[in-house]
Amino acid sequence: MSSSGGNEIERIHIRGLWVRFGSVEAVRGIDISAYAGRATALLGRNGAGKSTTMRVLAGVIPPTEGEVVVDGVDVRHDPLTVKRSTGFCPDVGGLVPRATPWEHLQLAARLRRMQGWELRAQDLLERFDLGAAAHRVTGGFSHGMGRRLSVVLAAFHEPSVLLLDEPFDGVDPLGVEATQRVISDAKDRGAAVLVSTHLRDLAMEACEDALVLRGGSAVAALGSEDLVGEDGARAYRALLD
């Protein structure tokens, strides 16, 4: 773990990240730093490289080039340890269609060596209004229910790096509130949170920092105050073109 200029602990350290799929360059040399107790929003149009960056940080996609360090561990050299310290809510689905939420939680608890996890699992499911659906297969869930459960699974083991890809997409106001609380709790216990979303207003409520990506590259690093309100909307719009 390295430190920024102050006393903040740098939990995500990306320098010169490139990700290529054949001839397609999904991410083109971006740098990101995210610190303990802070949330960073990843903003940008479709295809900007937000989800690919998230997947690299979750250890699901290997970086083609560059340095990616999560909580002091190089993702290329030790992806298993990186997976232990991260909680990942993928942008698409993210749920096994014929397993129940409880079975998802059982698997996560087993693989993450969690003991006495049942009360926390129940509490999270209740907070996200999924208690009544805990033993129904997720294939029958609405999109919003699926998103909420994905956030629960990402936050379940209280990871030091929380990666939320489109957590607000199609989620009702109560689900949004619960997600904001999860982000707030994670920051309080010293986790770094990365939130990728198209919903700028919600992102600015939850995050202190913002990084705008375009065409696989980072085009601006801003404080959340720079992207709030009408002025923020105009500034953001200008960065997308």
Binding site: K83, P97, A99, E103, Q106, R136
Partner: protein, 510 residues
Amino acid sequence: MPTEHSWTELRRGAEDLRALLAFRRSGLTPVSRKRLRIGGGLVITLTVAAIALPAYLKEPLGRNVGDLVAIMPTFYLGFLVLSVLAAVSSGGGRELVPRDQAVAYPVSTVTEHLGALLLAPLNVAWLIQAWALLGSTTYIFGPHYLPAQVTPVLLWIVLSTAVGQVVGWAFEGIRRGPHGTWVARGITTAFGAGVLALVLTHTLTNVLDHSPTVRIYLAASYGGGADWGRWSAYVAVLLAMIAAAVLIGLLPARWALQRPQREELRLESGHHEPPPNPRSDLVAMVRLDRASVWRSVPLRRGLLVLGMMPGVVALGGALTWDLVTILPGLVASGGALLFGVNAWCLDGRGALWRDSLPTSPRISYLAKVVVLFEVLLVTGLITIALAAFRAGRPTAAELVSVLAALVVVAAQVVATSMRWSVTRPYASDMRSARATPAPPVVMAGYSARLAVKTTVVGLVFSATAIASTWLVPFLVAVPMLLWSAYRLARTESAWAEPLVRARVVAVVAS
């Protein structure tokens, strides 16, 4: 339904079918297009060969056709039964475009029906049976007026497929009704009990001898004998029956497809009592994969059919132990085609999340292997158990041969399926009873390759069954198992590569 409206619907349905076929074709890579052309050419070549070669067989093989003539009506009837079973077990028929991809388009039930008819031949069992029918017919009648001989048989093949669709849609409609699952089970049980009663009362042969399909044989003979008057009459009747079956099929197709998918909805909304916490990572992974198999309607139904049908056929045909060795290969191929050839489709969109969990790739790979292997073993054992009722008491060599065939083909099919799963993944949610783990054309290629491999192994153990000692099949099985183990390990190494895994996961989760 006004006739004018129906004709318009039919025309639109055919146009939409062409559009959907073009949509599917546009998704093919140049390599896939080349494979498709080669596969299509191969099917046409084999069909011509199946018609022509038996007709020109001469001395010293001779043309002793007496026994063959006696079973031809049963053979023709068998094709109809196969078509019906295929349509029933696939929820009416295969989807030209998966449900989740077609949801944005107004695909009519007419298009669904015509698409299912078009896809029915993309099935190695259908093709092999069709070739066998054509070849047996031309073998009997020789090379005289070959096109005229095979025309009634070709029309019968088309008619059987169309009738199969009619029954398949009707059965699917019943299944989707209130208490439909129980009604469908009742019908299946009654049918099975009827066949069993015929077998036990030794009246099956008598019933089959009176099959009306003898007329197909007669029509072929009129063609071979240049009796054009009667031949034309039969051909005209068959053509009319095909047109009628295709049109009649529109009604149950519409009825079935407009009913709610109750069984799927019941599984998705039902309460599943949580099991105790798993004792190991592998147990946890296996448990989730097992649930993904048994909570999927197409997989449950497919496995039931696979376990029961070859066994029932063996019961009816009173197969001897040396022939029972062929059955595990049929069952294993069928089982792999249900999901094994694209094993990560079990995770669907959850693949990304599962891959983000802190566990060795080896564990997730091993879990898929275990689940596929156990499914193939269980269904194979059910088949063997049913066949055993009439196969008599086996010798030690016969028993070991059958069991070795079961284990060897299961290992062989698992190794092949896992390789395909890693090298050629597809996105498939397996929710609908009509879903397949890969596109229909790819499935046809897979089924042909698996059928050839497993039949060869079955024949090898058919030969070892007549050995004087059980050591022979045992010693034959050992190197085959080692080879499959080596192939499994090689695929596991590929899966352990982060780039390979990322590609598989991204595709199945898309």
